[in-house]
C-alpha cells in the first residue's frame, strides 16, 4: 500500500515563483511546476502520456511515515529549477532540477536545523500516466505489466537504476552515479483508482543536528524498444568516466587476467604464454603472511597462526620479502601488470583485528563476520572489518602505499569487493553515506570499499600511471563496486548458476573489461576417470563454444584456463578482446529475429556487432542495424576478418543477410559510413588488412553526392583511393564521391610503422633448419628494459622450436652494436620515428622514439608474427581428452 498520496503530501503555500520559462528540458524530459497543485510536472518527449510528474518525497525513519511537504518557492535560474519545501520538522529542503548530458538530475539538499538526529528517507517518484504494455525493471529483474507492487527489497546485486517502458518510450530513475549510499530501493506501484502508477527510487539519510546532506537522483526518458538498456545507455552517457577504466591507469588492466601464469611462480615460457593468451594483468594472490598486515610490518610479523604456515609464508621476514620482490619482478617480465591482491581490506586476521583494530570490527548478525576455515592465507582465521575512517583503514592505506612503492606495482586486485556487512562501530559518526534500519544507524562496507578504490587511484606507479583497481565483486555486489574498478573478474564460468548470472555485473561495469574466472571443471559434469576421451572432447568443445558465445554476448574475456590449448577460443581471442576493450554497449541497435541475439561493441566506425544463437542447426535471417543510434549516415560492415558482406541500405538502416551456424558467432565490423544514407541502396564491402597495409573494397549502388568516412585500423591510414578506376581524394579518412549508379571504390591503407612488404617482415629468416639464422643487435648502453625486448624476441623462437615444434631450443644470439651484415635484427629505442622494416642488407629494424613506444611497436610486431607462428598453446589437462596431444581441435562434428 502506498503510504500517502503525493497530492496530499504537497500543498502549495507560497506563490513566490520566478518562473517564466516553459520548463526545464533534459534527458528527454520536460519539467515544469504546476502552480495550482504544487506538483512538479514532467513529460517525456517520446511519449506524452508516459510520465506525468517527477516529485520529491520525504519520510521519517522514526515514525516510518511520510512527511507532508509544502512547496515554498520555485524558481528557474541558470538552467535549473530550484524548488524549496518546508515541513513540520526543522528541516530546510531544496531540490534542484538540472540537466547533465543525457540525464535530468534532481539534487536534494536537506539541512537539519534542529537539535536531534534525523533519520530520513528521500525518494524521487515518477508518476506513470500510461501502463498498457508497461514493463518494469527494479534494478535486477523485469516484470511485464505488473499488477501488484513490484521491487525486490535487496541492496546487493541490484543496480542503482530502475525503469519502466512501453513500446514507444521509457523512463528511468536512480541514484546519480557518484552517489555512495548504504541503502536504496526501487519500487513500482500500479495505478489505484485516480492515483497513477508510480516508479520510485529512494535512499536513506542520517542527518546529525546542524548538518546537511545532498543526494542526487538521475532521471531520463528514452525510446522503448531496448527496454531498460536504454536507461543504462543514458546513464553511461551522462557519467562516461565512471563506466570506462580510468584513462591514466596501466592500459593492460583492460585485457584479460593471467590466472597465475605470471604469479607466484613462472616457467621459462610464461612470458610467451601470457602474451599469446592476451593476458594483461595478474591476480597476485595474497602476497603477505598475515591477512590485514599486507606489508608485513616487523612488529606484526611473528605470531602464532591457528593453522601451520605454508610455503613461502613460513619464511623469515627478510627471506619472505626477498621472495616477494623476486616473484613480482619475474612476473613483470612477462609484460603483465602485477595486481597486488588484497581482500578489499575487509578481512583481517582475527587476533590482529580484535587486539589492534577493535574500532574496525563489524558486528552484523546478518553477515558472515568470521572465517574459521582456511581462506585468504589458509593459516589464519579472518574477521570482517571496516577499512574506512578507522585505525585499520589508516594502516591499510599506509600499507598499500608502501607495498606499491616497494614492489613497483601497477595496481591492486581487490577480492571480496562486494561490500557486505553493516558497520555500527565507533567511527560511525564521521562516516558519509550512512543509512538506518530497525537496528539503528549503520554504514555499509561497500562505502569503505569504494573509498579504498578511490584511494588506489591516487597512488602512482614509477612510470607515472595511476594504480589500477581490478576487482572481484560478484554479481551479488553492492552497486558501487564497479564504479571505481577499472576492470573486474566474475569468479565463475559462463554457465555458473545460469546463463545470465554475469549479466548484472556487466550492467554495473558499463564499458569496462570483465573476465570470466575459474575454468571448465569437467568433473562437475562427468566422472573424468570414467569418461572416454571422445566424451571429454565433446564436453570440452561444447563448453568452449558456450564460452565463446557468452563472451561475445555480454562482453567477458576468457582467461587462460579457458583458452590455453583450445584451438577455437585462441583463434577467437583477438576478436573477443577487441570487442571487450572497445566497450560493451547496452543498446545493440541491431535487430535480429529470435533465436538470434545481437550485441554491439563501440560506436560509429569502431562498432563491432556480434550475432549468434544457442540452438541446434543453422539460422538464416537478416540483421537490421539502426544506424542513427550510434553513427552518422549508413554504416557498412564486413565480417570481422574483412570477409565480404552485402549491406542493403533502406530507411537509414543497414540490412545484412546472415547464415549463422550452430555454436558459431558472426562478428560484423564497421568499415565505413556513407552519408547521406538515402543516397545509397546497397554496398558490398570487403577488406584485407595486413601488417604493412591493406585494401578496402566497396561496391556502392547509389546516386548523388556522398561522403564516405573510413575506419582507420590501428596504426593504419588511408593513403589512396580509386572510384571506378579513377583517383579519388582521401582527406583525413574521408572521401567525397559523386555516384551515378554503380561505383566500385578501392581504398588503400598503409601502416604508420610497418614498411615494405608483409612477406619481408613475416618471412624474415629468424631461424633455419633448427638453427639461428640471424643475430639480434642492441645499441651499446641500452637499458634493461630495451634488452628485455631482445630477450623476448629470442624467447619467441626458443618457445616456437622447443614448446610448439617439440624440438631443441633455438636461441638467436644477442649482440651489442650495429650488425655488420644481415640477416640481423636491430632494436633501437632512440630513433627519429617508429618504424619496422627490412633494409637492403637484410637487417630487420625495430625502432621507436622511446622505450615505451618501442615496446608498443615490438609487441605489435610479435602479434603479427603470430599469424605465421600460430599455436593454440597447450594445456596439460587436455591430455586425456586429446589422447596426449594437449591441443583440442574442432575437427569433429560437434
Amino acid at each position: 500500500m502506498r503510504t500517502a498520496l503525493a497530492s496530499a503530501a504537497i500543498g502549495l503555500a507560497c506563490t513566490c515563483f520566478a518562473w517564466g520559462q516553459a520548463g526545464l528540458e533534459a534527458g528527454n524530459l520536460t519539467v515544469t511546476v504546476d502552480r495550482d497543485s504544487g506538483f512538479v510536472r514532467a513529460g517525456s518527449a517520446l511519449d506524452s502520456e508516459l510520465v506525468r510528474g517527477l516529485n520529491f518525497r520525504l519520510s521519517d525513519g522514526g515514525s516510518d511515515g511520510e512527511l507532508p511537504l509544502t512547496m515554498t518557492e520555485a524558481r528557474f535560474e541558470d538552467d535549473a529549477l530550484f524548488v524549496r519545501y518546508a515541513c513540520d520538522r526543522p528541516l530546510d529542503i531544496l531540490v534542484i532540477y538540472s540537466g547533465l548530458r543525457e540525464g535530468l538530475l534532481a539534487t536534494v539538499l536537506v539541512t537539519n536545523d534542529g537539535d536531534r538526529q534525523e533519520l530520513l528517507e528521500v525518494a524521487l517518484d515518477a508518476d506513470i500516466g500510461r501502463t498498457e504494455g508497461l514493463s518494469v525493471f527494479d534494478g535486477r529483474s523485469v516484470s511485464g505489466e505488473p499488477q501488484e507492487a513490484f521491487g525486490e527489497d535487496t541492496f546487493r546485486g541490484r543496480l542503482q537504476l530502475c525503469a519502466a517502458w512501453n513500446e514507444q518510450a521509457g523512463v528511468g530513475l536512480g541514484l546519480a552515479a557518484p552517489e555512495l549510499r548504504s541503502w536504496f530501493h526501487h519500487s513500482y506501484v500500479p495505478p489505484d483508482g485516480e492515483e497513477p502508477a508510480r516508479l520510485s527510487t529512494a535512499t536513506r539519510l542520517v542527518l546529525d543536528p546542524g548538518r546537511d546532506d545532498t543526494v542526487t537522483f538521475f532521471a531520463a526518458s528514452r525510446p522503448g524498444e531496448w527496454g531498460f538498456y536504454e536507461v543504462l545507455d543514458a546513464y553511461y552517457e551522462t557519467y562516461p568516466a565512471m563506466f570506462r577504466a580510468d584513462p591514466d591507469v596501466d592500459e593492460r588492466a583492460n585485457l584479460g587476467g593471467g590466472q597465475y601464469r605470471a604469479f607466484p611462480r613462472t616457467g621459462v615460457w610464461s612470458p610467451e604464454i601470457c602474451r599469446r593468451l592476451f593476458v594483461g594483468w595478474e591476480w597476485c594472490y595474497a602476497p603477505f603472511r598475515r591477512t590485514g598486515d599486507i606489508y608485513g610490518r616487523e612488529q606484526l610479523w611473528d605470531y602464532e597462526p591457528v593453522r601451520p604456515f605454508g610455503s613461502p609464508r613460513g619464511l623469515p621476514r627478510d627471506e619472505y620479502f626477498a621472495w616477494r620482490r623476486e616473484a613480482f619482478e619475474v612476473g613483470r617480465a612477462c609484460n603483465v601488470a602485477m595486481m597486488f591482491y588484497v581482500p578489499s581490506q575487509v578481512w583481517c586476521e582475527e587476533r590482529l583485528a580484535r587486539e589492534v583494530y577493535p574500532d574496525a570490527l563489524i558486528e552484523d548478525p546478518t553477515a558472515r563476520t568470521l572465517f574459521t576455515t582456511p581462506w585468504v592465507t589458509g593459516h589464519d582465521n579472518e574477521r570482517l572489518v571496516f577499512p574506512y575512517q578507522t585505525s585499520f583503514a589508516e594502516q591499510s592505506y599506509r600499507d598499500m602505499a608502501d607495498v606499491a612503492e616497494e614492489l613497483n606495482l601497477q595496481g591492486f586486485a581487490l577480492d571480496t569487493a562486494g561490500g557486505g556487512g553493516k558497520y555500527r562501530g565507533p567511527a560511525l559518526d564521521r562516516l558519509d553515506g550512512r543509512a538506518w534500519d530497525e537496528d539503528g544507524v549503520y554504514c555499509r562496507n561497500s562505502i569503505a570499499v569504494a573509498h579504498l578504490m578511490q584511494y588506489v587511484h591516487t597512488l602512482t606507479a614509477p612510470d607515472g600511471t595511476r594504480l589500477a583497481v581490478v576487482s572481484n565483486p560478484s554479481p551479488r555486489c553492492a552497486y558501487s563496486a564497479m564504479l571505481w574498478s577499472d576492470s573486474a573478474m566474475l569468479e565463475g564460468e559462463p554457465w555458473k548458476v545460469d546463463r545470465t548470472y554475469g549479466d548484472s555485473l556487466r550492467w554495473m561495469a558499463g564499458h569496462k573489461t570483465l573476465v570470466w574466472w575459474e575454468g571448465y571443471g569437467a568433473d562437475s559434469f562427468v566422472d573424468v576417470e570414467m569418461a572416454r576421451p571422445d566424451q571429454l572432447r565433446m564436453l570440452l568443445r561444447g563448453l568452449a563454444d558456450f564460452t565463446l558465445l557468452q563472451s561475445l554476448r555480454i562482453g567477458y574475456i576468457p582467461p587462460p584456463n579457458f583458452t590455453q590449448g583450445f584451438e577455437r577460443l585462441v583463434q577467437w581471442l583477438p576478436a573477443i578482446t577487441e570487442c571487450v576493450t572497445t566497450g560493451w554497449q547496452p543498446v545493440p541497435a541491431a535487430r535480429v529475429p529470435e533465436p538470434l541475439w545481437a550485441t554491439r561493441y563501440g560506436d560509429g566506425l569502431d562498432a563491432l556487432i556480434a550475432i549468434a544463437h544457442e540452438t541446434a542447426g543453422t539460422v538464416q535471417a537478416e540483421a537490421v542495424i539502426e544506424n542513427r543510434r550510434f553513427a552518422e549516415g549508413a554504416l557498412v560492415f564486413t565480417d570481422y576478418d574483412g570477409g565480404e558482406r552485402t549491406n542493403r541500405i533502406a530507411g537509414g538502416e543497414t540490412k545484412i543477410a546472415l547464415t549463422v551456424p550452430t555454436r558459431t558467432p558472426v562478428l560484423l565490423r564497421a568499415q565505413a559510413a556513407v552519408a547521406p544514407a538515402d543516397a545509397v541502396t546497397e554496398v558490398r564491402a570487403a577488406a584485407e588488412m595486413g601488417l604493412t597495409g591493406g585494401t578496402l573494397w566497396l561496391g556502392i549502388d547509389g546516386r548523388g553526392q556522398v561522403t564516405v568516412r573510413l575506419r582507420e585500423p590501428e596504426g593504419m591510414r588511408a593513403t589512396a583511393a580509386w572510384l571506378n578506376g579513377a583517383v579519388a581524394q582521401v582527406r583525413d579518412g574521408e572521401l567525397s564521391l559523386q555516384l551515378d549508379g554503380r561505383g566500385d571504390l578501392k581504398v588503400r591503407y598503409a601502416s604508420r610503422v610497418f614498411r615494405g612488404e608483409d612477406s619481408r617482415l613475416l618471412d624474415f629468416p629468424f631461424t633455419r633448419d633448427g638453427q639461428p639464422a640471424c643475430t639480434i643487435h642492441l645499441p651499446y648502453g641500452v637499458s634493461p628494459r630495451t634488452r628485455l625486448l631482445a630477450e623476448r624476441l629470442q624467447l619467441y623462437f626458443r618457445y616456437w622450436h622447443a614448446r610448439v615444434l617439440g624440438g631443441d631450443e633455438v636461441a638467436i644470439p644477442i649482440e651489442q652494436g650495429e650488425p655488420q651484415a644481415g640477416p640481423a635484427v636491430l632494436i633501437t629505442p632512440e630513433a627519429a620515428e617508429p618504424a619496422v622494416f627490412v633494409d637492403d642488407a637484410d637487417v630487420l629494424h625495430i625502432a621507436a622514439r622511446n622505450e615505451r613506444e618501442l615496446e608498443d611497436v615490438f609487441y605489435r610486431y610479435l602479434r603479427a608474427l603470430d599469424t605465421k607462428y600460430w599455436t593454440a598453446e597447450w594445456g596439460y589437462w587436455l591430455r586425456k581428452a586429446t589422447q596426449g596431444a594437449n591441443v583440442l581441435k574442432w575437427d569433429e562434428t560437434p
Binding site: 554457465w495 545460469d498 559434469f525 566422472d527
Partner: protein
C-alpha cells in the same frame, strides 16, 4: 587404480570353484556396530516415510521425495529425491552424535541426472572460537541443464549408468566441542533425481581381520589388493609366519590395522592346486 582394476579382471577370468576354502572378514569394531548412521539401509520406517531421515530445503515445493520399495541396492528400499528446478538445493539428512576424531561418511547413490552433494556438516557457535566441519563430495552430471544438448550432447554425459548404484565417500574431521553433525545427501541446485541407499558413517579407520580356512584344501597364498593401488597391500609370501614355498597355517588369520573404512579390498586365497577363492571388503565384511 586403473591397473588394479585390470588385474582384478584378469584374476576373475581364471577363477575356478574352490568351495571348500572360506574367507571370513570382520572388523574391529564390527562395521555394523561402528555405523553411527541411523536406519542406514533405509529399511526402517512407517506410513510411507523412512525412519530418522527427513528432507531439508528452503523450497520444499521444488522437491519430490519418496521412500521407495524395490529400488534399493539389493531390491530393498531406498531414499528417492527429485528436484524440479535449480532454484534451491535439497537433502535427505539426519543428525548423529559424534566425538572428536576422523570419520568416514559413505554410501551409495543412483542418478539419472543432476549434481549431487553429499556432506557431513555441523557448527557450534556457542563456543569461542566457533568450531565446525563441512566435508563434501559432489557427484553426478549435467550441472547446467541449459547446456544440454546443444552444447553438451547427451553422449558426452554418458557414464554413470542410471540403473547402477555408485559409492560415495568423504572423510570428516570432527573437531573438539562439536557434539553433533548432520549427514546430508541430495541435489545441489540442479534439476534431477537420485536414489540413496546403504549409508555408513563411522570411524575413518578400522582393523580388518581376515580369517582363511582351508576346509580340506591346502591354501598356499593369500593376497589383499586395494582397488585404488597397483601393488597388493598384503601378500602372505612376505609374512614371516608363512614359510616360503610352504602352505599357510589352517586356519590362518591376518589383521590389517588402520584400514580406511572406505577402502575397497579384494582378498584372494590361492590353493596349492591353483584354485582361487575371493572375498570383497567391505561388501562381505561382518
Amino acid at each position: 587404480m586403473r591397473m588394479t582394476a585390470l588385474i582384478i579382471a584378469a584374476l576373475g577370468l581364471v577363477v575356478a570353484p574352490a568351495a571348500a576354502v572360506t574367507i571370513e572378514l570382520t572388523t574391529d569394531q564390527p562395521r555394523v556396530e561402528a555405523n553411527l548412521a541411523l536406519n542406514p539401509a533405509m529399511e526402517e520406517g512407517a506410513d510411507g516415510a523412512p525412519a530418522h531421515w527427513s528432507l531439508s530445503t528452503a523450497v520444499p515445493e521444488n522437491f519430490e521425495t519418496a521412500w521407495v520399495e524395490g529400488e534399493g541396492r539389493h531390491g530393498s528400499r531406498a531414499l528417492y529425491l527429485k528436484a524440479h528446478e535449480n532454484v534451491m538445493s535439497g537433502y535427505w539428512g539426519q543428525t548423529v552424535a559424534v566425538e572428536p576424531g576422523s570419520y568416514i561418511f559413505r554410501g551409495f547413490y543412483r542418478t539419472t541426472t543432476g549434481r549431487l552433494l553429499m556432506y557431513a556438516h555441523g557448527r557450534n557457535t556457542d563456543v569461542e572460537p566457533p568450531v565446525g566441519v563441512d566435508a563434501r563430495v559432489y557427484a553426478g552430471s549435467a550441472i547446467a541443464g541449459f547446456l544440454v544438448p546443444v552444447f553438451i550432447p547427451y553422449e558426452a554425459l554418458a557414464g554413470a549408468d542410471p540403473d547402477t548404484y555408485y559409492p560415495f565417500s568423504v572423510q570428516v574431521e570432527v573437531p573438539e566441542r562439536l557434539p553433533t553433525i548432520a549427514l546430508s545427501m541430495g541435489m545441489y541446485f540442479t534439476p534431477g533425481e537420485v536414489w540413496f541407499d546403504d549409508v555408513w558413517f563411522g570411524p575413518a579407520t578400522l582393523d580388518l581381520i581376515i580369517r582363511v580356512a582351508g576346509g580340506g584344501e591346502q591354501v598356499g597364498k593369500l593376497t589383499v589388493f586395494d582397488e585404488d593401488e597397483v601393488d597388493p597391500v598384503y601378500v602372505s609370501t612376505a609374512d614371516p609366519r608363512c614359510p616360503v614355498g610352504g602352505l599357510l597355517p589352517d586356519p590362518f588369520e591376518v589383521r590389517l590395522e588402520d584400514v580406511r573404512a572406505d577402502a575397497r579390498y579384494l582378498i584372494v586365497a590361492k590353493t596349492a592346486d591353483g584354485d582361487l577363492t575371493k572375498a570383497r571388503f567391505p561388501e562381505e565384511a561382518r
